[in-house]
Symmetry: C2
Subunit: 226 residues, 2 copies
């Protein structure tokens, strides 16, 4: 009697949105945004490309769900931290920074879908702490928005840097910064005196620490405003 060993790689467990999003995140992390296609996703899920559409409306929803997952993980780690509000804001900001450092595609996605779940989570976390800090109601919306926009701005640039570095085949951040600084050194001193002056700092600086310095500038401004 012959055993009926399945020759194909067909999956046996049912597909689900969660499983699809999880696999999409794997592909995005491994190969960047360009690697996520419905065909590649279907192959890895051992199913047909069309099957995915039963669980997910389109690629946009898939990317949004993946980004929401990553940001939710960050915010869950922060939790209901009721300590020093300023410290917690720094923790949230750094958490988003590090998450986008680890998953650069999230940075791009936060830009495509403004004011959706992922961004709203960050906004809630920052805004609540500004309230706890005693920022008056009149300035609360503007202050929270400003910090979130700043975080997103850095996030987006970092993600783009990571993508460019990947495309150039270098994973080394130092080499990337050096190449930017080298380009700056070639600029016309008459037209770009400032950029030329700070080119060496571009070479040496730590992105993460610079990011935090910006957050602190904001917090200092908010405090100065009373």
């Amino acid at each position: 009697m012959t055993t009926k060993a399945p020759r194909t790689e067909r999956r046996t467990d049912a597909l689900s949105k969660g499983k699809i999003v999880e696999t999409a995140i794997q592909i995005l992390d491994e190969g960047g945004e360009g690697a996520l296609t419905f065909r590649a996703l279907a192959t890895r899920l051992a199913t047909g490309a069309g099957a995915i559409y039963w669980h997910v409306a389109d690629k946009n929803e898939l990317l949004a769900a993946a980004a929401d997952d990553v940001v939710a993980g960050v915010m869950a780690q922060v939790g209901d931290d009721a300590g020093d509000p300023k410290a917690t804001i720094r923790t949230i900001a750094l958490g988003v920074f590090d998450a986008i450092d680890a998953h650069p595609w999230v940075g791009a996605q936060l830009f495509r879908e403004p004011w959706r779940a992922a961004t709203v989570q960050i906004f809630e976390g920052v805004g609540g702490r500004l309230e706890a800090l005693g920022v008056p109601d009149a300035g609360l919306f503007d202050a929270a928005s400003a910090i979130v926009f700043y975080v997103l701005g850095v996030a987006g640039q970092n993600a783009a840097n990571a993508r460019l570095a990947r495309e150039a085949g270098r994973t080394d951040r130092g080499a990337f910064l050096a190449s930017v600084a080298a380009r700056w050194d070639q600029l016309d001193p008459a037209q770009h005196p400032f950029v030329r002056k700070v080119a060496s700092r571009m070479r040496d600086h730590d992105d993460r620490q610079q990011f935090l310095a910006g957050v602190d500038l904001f917090l200092a401004g908010i405090e100065a405003r009373g």
Copy 2:
């Protein structure tokens, strides 16, 4: 005697990178990012799709050149303004804001190509004025970066909002903000107390004024730091 009227739409003047970029900007402004394809561009230029590659390396370079053009226009208007540095920084920031409001695709592009010509121009303009403001060298790079990241963050979100509003078929910004606020009103009050609280401000606020409030927060922070 019959006049030799050309029946075809073939162009007679030579193609050039400038002409290509100019036409690309037209298409982008009229139809958004999705409208710019090499086929559409070639049709409007009355040439073949392949001809464009003689003048432009690829689509990335085309978009970068188009964005550089727009930002250069903004910075040219600011010029060498040697007045109050803080006022000039506000002028630069608002100029970038308005330019991206008018050309949303520029916002997306500034993110794809970090630290290239367009961003460097803004960085130079802001950094030079911070220097004039007396910001000490040690904090200059961080402060200029922070403002530029903030500007880019707002720019990117605005561009995304404009894109979504276009896709939804509504050009009215008020209607868009109202729809976001309505979504926020539906959120769980236990999980999103802050967002629910400021939902009405989302409905009423002025993006441009909020943007400027953020710039001022930064400047206040920079001043408070001495």
